[in-house]
């Protein structure tokens, strides 16, 4: 049951990320990966809110965590950071790395403390 909920909600999360990050990226008129950044920061805030509010065993919490697991992504963040860093854009790579890291963890901490 846990497995099925995680898999199904994760797939929905993946498609939502595809839509959201694509919509933001295509409107940004820049090659800075704002789409992935937005999905990861949004997901980071929501996972903090969810985890602070509830015990992680209930099905609804499981669904939310599964959805956010699929909605956020680590691999795309890493690849986009590397590609910003080559060959002349190293400052932007560091910005993408640090903004996601600091704001992302900050938002999760903030959401977690708000609802705990």
């Amino acid at each position: 049951m846990t497995f099925l909920v995680t898999v199904a909600t994760g797939a929905v999360g993946a498609y939502c990320r595809y839509l959201v990050s694509g919509a933001i990226q295509s409107r940004s008129h820049s090659d800075f990966p704002l789409g992935t950044l937005s999905a990861n920061l949004g997901g980071a805030l929501l996972i903090g809110l969810v985890a602070g509010a509830s015990d992680l065993q209930s099905t609804s919490t499981l669904a939310a965590v599964g959805f956010l697991g699929g909605f956020t992504t680590y691999s795309t963040w890493m690849i986009e950071t590397i590609r910003l860093g080559m060959p002349y854009l190293r400052v932007r790579a560091v910005i993408n790395l640090m903004v996601t890291l600091i704001l992302g963890i900050g938002l999760t901490v903030a959401g977690y403390s708000l609802t705990t």
């Binding site: 497995f3 199904a8 797939a11 929905v12 990861n40 690849i79």
Partner: protein
């Protein structure tokens, strides 16, 4: 687009997606099922005990970063189906790896007073993730 020399970095964005295609929906959701199932499977065998180093998520994120680097380089060297990027990059590997679990594990470690483990986890995830993704790209360029 003219073919790039193999030493040049590929585009930062793994394909600007079209937003309304049914084929995209099927490809991303199918890939998302595979990626989420793999993540849930690894999470089942390597759960993170409270206050412990999140080994399972670290392995997931590093492996996924490596594979995405490998895939995106291979994609630029071969003709692939239109569903390939939505399926592999956005679906399978996008949903296999996760930022929310990473961020939540760091938050829990910090909340429980394990700042040193949290710092080690952040370091291993970022340095390891960048190294793994770069290694994937290198291997994708070298291996035929």
């Amino acid at each position: 687009m003219p073919p790039r020399p193999s030493t040049q970095p590929p585009n930062p964005d793994p394909g600007h997606p079209r937003l309304h295609g049914l084929d995209d929906l099927v490809a991303v959701v199918a890939g998302g099922l595979v990626g989420s199932a793999a993540r849930a499977g690894i999470g089942f065998f390597l759960p993170t005990p409270i206050g412990a180093f999140p080994t399972g998520i670290l392995i997931i994120n590093l492996t996924g970063s490596f594979l995405l680097g490998l895939y995106l380089v291979r994609r630029e060297q071969a003709v692939m189906a239109r569903w390939s990027v939505p399926f592999w990059a956005f679906g399978v590997l996008g949903s296999f790896t996760t930022f929310s679990a990473f961020s939540l594990d760091v938050t829990r470690l910090l909340a429980d007073g394990h700042a040193l483990i949290a710092a080690g986890y952040i370091g291993a995830s970022t340095v390891g993730g960048l190294t793994a993704a770069g290694l994937g790209q290198r291997i994708g360029l070298v291996v035929r």
